[in-house]
Symmetry: C2
Subunit: 752 residues, 2 copies
Amino acid sequence: MLKIALPALILLLLAVFFRPTPGEYPRLILTAEGVGEIRNEFGSVPLFDASLAKVKEDVDAEMAVGIDVPVPKDFSGGYTHERHKRNYLMALQAGQLYQILGEERYAQYVRDMLFEYEAMYSGLPLHPMERSYARGKLFWQCLNESVWLVYMAQAYDTIYTWLPAADRERLENNLFRVVADFISVENPQFYNRIHNHSTWGNAAVGMIALAMDDDELLQRALYGLTDDGLELGVKDDDGGFIKVAGQKAGFLANLEDPFSPDGYYTEGPYYQRYAMYPFLVFGIALHNVKPELKALQYKENVLLKAVDALLSLTDSDGEFFPLNDAQKGMSYHSAELVTAVNIAYHYGGQNPQLLSVAEAQGQVLLDQAGLSVAMGIAAGKAEPFIKTSVNLSDGPQGQKGGVAVLRAGREDLTVVFKYAAQGLSHGHYDKLSFSMFDKGEEVLQDYGLVRFVNIGQKGGGNYLPENASWAKQSIAHNTLVVNETSHFGGDYETGSQHHSELHFFDAGNENIQIVSASESNAYPGTRKLRTLALIKNEKFREPFLLDLWKVDADVEQQYDLPYYYLGQLLETNFAYSNPRVLEPLGESSGYQHLYLEAQGESETGNAKFSWLGPNGFYSLTATTEADDQLLMARVGANDPDFNLRRDPVLILRRPATAGTVFATIIEPHGSYSPVSELALESRTAVEQLAIVYDDDNYTAISIADINGYSSLFVLATQSSSEDEQHSVVIDGKTWSWQGPYRYFEQGGSIQK
Amino acid sequence: MLKIALPALILLLLAVFFRPTPGEYPRLILTAEGVGEIRNEFGSVPLFDASLAKVKEDVDAEMAVGIDVPVPKDFSGGYTHERHKRNYLMALQAGQLYQILGEERYAQYVRDMLFEYEAMYSGLPLHPMERSYARGKLFWQCLNESVWLVYMAQAYDTIYTWLPAADRERLENNLFRVVADFISVENPQFYNRIHNHSTWGNAAVGMIALAMDDDELLQRALYGLTDDGLELGVKDDDGGFIKVAGQKAGFLANLEDPFSPDGYYTEGPYYQRYAMYPFLVFGIALHNVKPELKALQYKENVLLKAVDALLSLTDSDGEFFPLNDAQKGMSYHSAELVTAVNIAYHYGGQNPQLLSVAEAQGQVLLDQAGLSVAMGIAAGKAEPFIKTSVNLSDGPQGQKGGVAVLRAGREDLTVVFKYAAQGLSHGHYDKLSFSMFDKGEEVLQDYGLVRFVNIGQKGGGNYLPENASWAKQSIAHNTLVVNETSHFGGDYETGSQHHSELHFFDAGNENIQIVSASESNAYPGTRKLRTLALIKNEKFREPFLLDLWKVDADVEQQYDLPYYYLGQLLETNFAYSNPRVLEPLGESSGYQHLYLEAQGESETGNAKFSWLGPNGFYSLTATTEADDQLLMARVGANDPDFNLRRDPVLILRRPATAGTVFATIIEPHGSYSPVSELALESRTAVEQLAIVYDDDNYTAISIADINGYSSLFVLATQSSSEDEQHSVVIDGKTWSWQGPYRYFEQGGSIQK
């Protein structure tokens, strides 16, 4: 089809087609032409009609209670904070209702609320809560102030024509320009960064600029402040840099820098979701009002690609993988993703798979994009959203590592591998870490953040001390830790200079989805290559994951390899002892937050460990050396305010070794139901895992199952060439292959 | 309607209507007449057709693989155990398919399997696993052997007519009578008890007796062994009595004794679910074959009442409240409840509310009862299943305490209060304990059992040592513990002699659902009265629970009152200190399994504690005295095999007091979503809770909210008369009321 074959052409056609007539209002997001279409269609488009009815019910209920614009006082979670948030949403929605239904009472409501803000704003001091590096006035931080303006600009746009000119002048001079100046020229440390905070600030200034037709403000939005007076090296209260050498500013710079060409946002999907909203709405507003800037086509359509990237970074339930600082449970059901999916569908080539996501979201925007989605669904065009393995580069030019997602059998078993850059101030020190999901549930978890967003009792809803002392530390992740110190010594400046390197990614073989990447800077002098292979082999009951580390180092050091399994321990094949009292595992680098619950040693060369998770049984088999220790620990030590979850971990500790190899298989198997009480296939199928070859260039692992069947995995640890020929001799047999790896399904018998 | 007004008459009519012609087969559960109806109707009854298709798919798949009757070897969870379980289900279902579809291959499959058992059984020794007090041959315990026979009797019934007489004779003499004798005369310690084990045994012997028309076996099933040779006082391996003085035996005695007149089964709903199956199927088989015994009408229709009782003991998701030994997650989706609901609907007056439960179950039986349910659903007769507050007596005559369920707003907020008898060998030492559910999720949990049913790696799937050392102990429950010892000293013989006493139960007022009961034997010399009131008051945002203890004792002793909240602690209004290392809270009575994580004291007379649970925010406010300690602890100490969940608890400890009062409010409020990140109403509305009056006859509690509004709850602690007039003087005001309690909504201002 033309639509799929020629997306760029379509984009161009759409861009022309959806361009509003100059001077017409509304014009930012909901356009005058869109209003015309909606008035023609609504009443016979179920999902649009339901969304309209829901919004009308909410707004009518709020209007019945009356407007409240309280004097700012509270942190997130407190009344004044939540009230002001609710106000801007209500204003935007009332404005949409005015346009669609033509009932003047909605316009009056928006006007009255705006004038209450107008009356108050100029006299407001800084917000009384002093925590932020950029305090707001309505809110404790400029960030929320900017969000307020992004919404209010749209609300204003909907009643612009209806308002008398004198009212417009008063609002623009006494409110909108005052807020725009406050968040920009008065707070350059907030406004002039490469950061999601600045994106919101830039979009806020830009949206009101487009609504007011103010070109000076628009330039400020697009290109930042020309003279911000900021010193290099200053940091914000999350520890992120405010200004580094050669830094650009403004919306276009923020679009350029944190997004990779694949649409991955360097802070991770949780913040991408949050940052996408201002990017997209300002992008669409520019597209509508200033089409000559080609905002949607910027950097080869990166804004629309970013929506695809974001959707691919979700589990089976649509929840985002919690990379870096991320609240678990956030998903494509969030309001920002409704916006993203509606816009991506309407302005990005009508991909019918997006319609099934919109169906799951159960709501659409009250504008032409939402109408378009709802009409597509009503016409039966929705197709299942298929997620496959994907490798997303990080960095402005895609040269700073990346994030790979391996999916076996579509997406039921999913491995997320992070070999990216630091991820700005929300990044964690977890090079080469991974997590694993089965049918939407975590099997091996990434802890996420330590924050109870918007819950006032927990530190005002802000980041808690344990976010830095625990969640960001390397030991809190499923990755290798050397000498009980975090990667880069836990130093943000150092971490920000480096990224891991892709060795190879190959999703071309249905039976083995594989990614391999190296990290040489986290611990100077140590090169670590981690290879994750999701393998389907008909001899095994289920796909399993092979996790292989090849570590090069010249000095003896201690290695800890943690696996944050979730579930109830069932069985180990090694003996262990339990201490009578629980003590912290260490003193710093996150170790002070782990209690040691048991300690054991494997005498067989393989440590086996199985647990019952939410979707069945899971077993881990790891190769061990003579001195290796198996530590069973639990999060929660030195946690005076009970901010941490008491989650368990198995740590494989190798006390004193230079270069070394770790090989582990994680195998989901069987099922359990507390209703039928049937336990199916509750034991591992892995009999023996062995490192059968290892030198400077190759590592080989043999996998024997309980039926005596064995297979062999061989890896070229230095060469990633797809063409290069390799061979190794193992026990007198020669094994030959081409390319960086090979999985020999019959490892015990085939000789080449 | 007649159906509802005259259930007994309807039962009688149905009994006549559904009676099979003598000598016809099948006749036990699926009857010849039922087969005729099914053959007329199927193909146009969606739920029946879907159930039939599913069963056919399963059986066809098994038949394609072929029959396997392995030599018995394994515990639950092992191959031979699970294979023999699967076999009897397949045999029954193949028999049903033969009757419905008329395809002879199904009858052949049943016959061939039965002859494999016939060839093996006589030569079998006792099962090699020696754990049970009554070892089986096919299985490690006679219990499973009996289940096998209950199913196989039905399978045999379906092919009885089709089999040549010589085959029948061989099966009956070499297999069925041998099994029946083995589980009865050869195992009287299993067969002749009042226990769910014996019920299975009795039903097994009875079902095969009815299939074979063997009156001697039928008498043995109904009335037990006349001379069992058992000594008094012997116990089984769960610690339950095998024989006590004056004990009757057989099916009718088991029906008489463990069921109360309200249909509550003394072991609790988890075991009731398990025990119901043999009760119901043998009851229906008797109804069909020996209608003159009026099995269904026995003890005023107790079998059908028991189905209602069981359904009322479920949360919003249909999961059973985990009273006594109970695996969490077991629900009315289990196969036993499909049987129970189908039978209760078909034979019990066609209650249309049962149809919505059957719809949720998503399957029906392949017999006339299942057809009847599926046809009712297809005809659109289903009505929502409404659960309300209910008080279920315990004991054969309903005189041994009971279980009360309080529900506010139908069933969203649910309190389960246990003031029952010991509950046989699966009982816990938790007099006057309670648990609390919100929208189907646990807010204050009952721990349940310590067992991973059928998971071989965990002690063969059997009860684990921590079930006795932890789960049964008083401190593991939300109830009062004196001097760190369990109720009755944790002694089963003593506990079995006593039960708590209802003070009153009143669900007549929509705004206050209340139950009150006392316990005087758990600690000799101490009388404890616990009153739980679920209160709706429009001044509060949500219904809340008042938990009030009035304790009479002459000596000073230590009291521990635990609340097993589930979720993440948000805030306390008291200071506490955290130990550097975690140590067990005590040495025995379950205390050895708790780690002390923090310890604090309240200086305000009220301890407040709030947490984030799965459905929002919860706050607890408790009155405190000067020496009270607040202990924050966690399950998991002395748990070498990781058999316990690491769940938290708040314990209010009063170190040295004689008579005393505890008053606590548990208040659900607000909501939180990780998607919208909106935190609504995250703080308690309770400002101050105070014991404003207390003497030998009355206790009064005032509740002040954060807006300065106050209410008063008064309780007559000795009199439960509904007519008696009471009055107390508090701060010079006289408060008068009639009956055992009164909630004055405006406690600060009304004077009577």
